[in-house]
Amino acid sequence: MSAVLQRCAAVAVALFLSGAAWAVQPGEMLDDPALEARAREISAGLRCPVCRNESIDESNATLSADLRLLVRERLVAGDTDQEVVDFVVSRYGEFVLLRPDASGANLVLWLAAPALLLIGLGIGWTTIRRRQPAKEEALSDAEKARLDEIMRS
């Protein structure tokens, strides 16, 4: 099945479970726009624990709505962004982080591609250098004169 089909299925399942509420609800939002913007930013990085692959900001599940309120409660209580995220992770585990931290084995995830780029560039560079054509000799004076003649004619 294609991307959208799967996505639709995921949405459909989420809808079925939650009874159709669409992502962030007006009633959930904070009055302070700066705080609300931070809440949206944090929510976009937290995965809905019962959905397929959605952040709590996009998700329609009831649990996501609860988590969105939780994030906002912590922000109102004066937590920093990091403290809010840490709090949610301490409850639901690192599964909720959509952007995994670069600790332990996750270093492989973050560094594999840059490493591969360096390896690729290294191999490409040395291969091209090794196959370098022998330097073509410059034209001699006589040849230059002959070339000029041809070009003029």
Binding site: S2, L117, P133
Partner: protein
């Protein structure tokens, strides 16, 4: 009866496929003309038989034959006719039959238009293609048969998922599959070349149109899917880095790399073994995508394979074809001596850089997609990898591609000079930076995404224009203009496709940086400001559709005193599937989309209403269409036509 005939036709095609896999291969090995010639009628009859099977299944859907299990599960008698037809591939079994139909279509095309190929190569290509098809015949017949009957036919069906009852379903999967499956031709050519042990300029020329066709279909398919998600899912997201999307994106990136490296094989007889590897990997990733999508292994982390039987079977197919091809590659790749040498600064090196960056980009997507599986199996950590990771890890490589593109595409073959290329691009750089500064001055926030996107987009688009202009020589303006019209179509294709990439980059950056969102409770008669517009909720009524009931809102959008547009977002409910959907109302524009969504009635009165202003949204898919158009223009180039060289058989030394 028709259903049974369709089932029988599919089994017959399976049998012919097995023969076509063996007979021409033996013929090519022994040099028996008759055995080699078996491939063409076999490929044609496979296509005819599978077409018949597909038509039979479509007939069952159209006539709502609920004695068929698949029709019962995915259709309903009250469903509009177009969705009865597109519903054929809106499910696992039917989409697999479409996949096979396209496999046999490509096989048949290679038989019909492959008259110019040396007989042994054509026989081998068709045999390999048939081997791939046979694996999927077995898969569909043994694990996902669409022709199974129910013992007691129910009175009516369970209906198709309402979200799929959309014109998007009619076009998105067929294009996507033409792309995925089209890469099987590049794979077949690569394996056939490995078996023959010969890759030359002619091979590069033959494989290119097939890759180009597959890539352009994949481009259209992905763009259509992204557009569909944008208008259907109700919040205007266009790309989610979902495993299933990534499954289509990885082959696209590799096919793009393959397109470029095949040019080097054709023109310079270098990068041969790398090109073969890319062709194998591109189709390998198509198969991996099929596995990811259909096994459910990645979408639900806690249960290995929603349908273990299918997942395991697809894993075996993947293992056999990818493993087999790579083994063959390991044994034979060393024999492919590069003929053309080139210096460090040259078009060839530019394309090597393009290939490295595209391959690494594909690798980022790959490792991000499978990492949750790895982490859980190997280190026992249950974690997620989502959009924020891909945004951070993928974007730098694509920025590098965009920066390098105009420079690399203008370098001379064999030995180029950076300073000569840089001279005409100086103005382009200046304009790009100026536009970025302008964007930064106009925008309200301090975000760098918008200005960087403007700069990169302008750099790539204007770079492509400069490239094509530089090809017209150094004479007067009129002469250069005249020459512009006579440039080979391949040059125009390159320009249009590269410019399309720039347009898409700009669109993605613009919508990410400058979107305006407004979520509120509104009562009928309310009017509120969003950006430079005002939105008015006029009316809400209940209405009846063919197979749903709907809450229909009428909303007017104002700009100052002028009424810009009246939009009618809907919230539908499909009783058979017992499922609601949101139908956003969108006013499309070149500079912005207005995107309105009506939500649930609220406890205290009023309705939840969402308003989005999405700047330059259509540039994302418009750019993708330019890319596909560029591919199409290239494909129409005389030198690249599928049947190129058909009239000059002497151009290719037969074995």
């Amino acid at each position: 009866m028709i259903t049974e005939l369709g089932h029988f036709a599919l089994i017959l095609a399976f049998a012919i496929g097995i023969l076509q896999m063996i007979v021409p291969m033996v013929g090519a090995h022994k040099g028996w003309r008759g055995w080699m010639a078996f491939a063409e009628p076999a490929a044609t009859s496979q296509f005819i038989l599978v077409s018949f099977a597909f038509a039979a299944l479509t007939w069952a859907f159209v006539t709502s034959d609920f004695s068929l299990r698949l029709v019962y599960l995915n259709s309903h008698s009250a469903k509009p006719l177009i969705y009865k037809i597109s519903g054929v591939w809106g499910n696992h079994e039917g989409s697999m039959l479409l996949w096979i139909l396209i496999l046999t279509l490509f096989g048949a095309c290679a038989a019909w238009f492959g008259g110019y190929l040396p007989a042994p190569l054509r026989a081998r290509v068709l045999a390999v293609q048939s081997a791939v098809t046979v694996a999927f015949y077995a898969f569909i017949l043994f694990t996902s048969n669409p022709f199974l009957r129910l013992e007691t036919p129910p009175f009516d069906g369970q209906d198709l998922n309402p979200l799929l009852q959309d014109p998007g379903l009619a076009f998105h999967p067929p294009f996507l599959y033409l792309g995925y499956v089209g890469l099987s031709m590049s794979f077949s050519f690569a394996v056939a070349a490995l078996i023959e042990g010969k890759v030359d300029a002619a091979w590069g020329r033959w494989v290119r149109p097939w890759t180009l066709a597959a890539w352009l279909f994949l481009t259209i398919g992905i763009a259509l899917g992204s557009w569909w998600a944008y208008y259907e899912l109700g919040w205007g997201g266009f790309w989610f880095w979902d495993p299933v999307e990534n499954a289509s994106f990885m082959p696209w990136l590799l096919a793009a790399a393959l397109l470029h490296s095949a040019v080097v094989v054709e023109k310079r007889e270098a990068l041969k073994s790398w090109t073969i590897l890319l062709a194998i990997l591109a189709f390998g990733f198509s198969l991996l995508g099929a596995f990811i999508v259909r096994s459910g292994v990645l979408t639900s982390v806690h249960a290995f394979a929603n349908d273990p039987e299918r997942g395991v079977y697809l894993l075996i197919i993947l293992g056999i074809f990818l493993g087999g091809a790579l083994t063959l590659y390991a044994a034979r790749a060393g024999e492919m001596e590069a003929k053309g040498v080139f210096s460090t600064v040259s078009r060839e090196s530019g394309i090597v850089l393009n290939n490295i960056l595209l391959a690494v980009s594909a690798f980022v997507v790959f490792i991000g997609t499978i990492w949750p599986l790895f982490a859980e199996m190997i280190v026992g950590r249950t974690l997620s990898v989502g959009a924020p990771f891909f945004d951070a890890a993928f974007t730098p490589f694509f920025i590098a591609i965009a920066i390098a593109l105009p420079l690399g595409s203008m370098l001379a073959w064999k030995r180029g000079s950076l300073s000569r290329v840089a001279r005409p691009l100086r103005g382009v750089l200046l304009v790009s930076v100026a536009l970025a500064a302008l964007a930064y001055a106009i925008q309200s926030g301090n975000s760098a995404v918008g200005p960087v996107g403007v700069a990169l987009g302008a750099w790539v688009v204007l770079g492509a224009v400069t490239d094509v202009w530089q090809r017209t020589g150094r004479e007067g303006f009129g002469k250069r203009l005249a020459r512009l019209r006579r440039l080979p179509r391949a040059d125009w294709g390159k320009t249009v496709a590269h410019a399309g990439l720039g347009v898409t980059i700009f669109g993605v950056a613009a919508i990410t940086a400058w979107q305006i969102e407004d979520i509120r409770v509104a009562e009928i008669g309310d009017r509120w400001a969003v950006g430079q517009f005002e939105v008015e909720l006029r009316q809400i009524e209940q209405a009846q559709g063919p197979n749903y009931v709907t809450t229909l809102a009428t909303m007017a959008v104002w700009k100052g005193d002028r009424e810009v547009v009246v939009l009618t977002p809907e919230k539908r409910f499909y009783p058979v599937a017992s499922m609601p959907t949101t139908e956003a109302a969108i006013s499309n524009g070149i500079l912005r989309d207005l995107y309105l969504v009506i939500g649930d009635p609220q406890v205290g009165g009023g309705y939840a209403v969402r308003t989005y202003i999405k700047p330059f949204a259509n540039w994302i898919w418009g750019g993708a269409m330019f890319m596909a158009l560029g591919g199409l223009i290239s494909l129409s180039d005389r030198r690249l036509r599928v049947a190129a060289g058909a009239r000059r058989p002497d151009a290719v030394p037969a074995e």
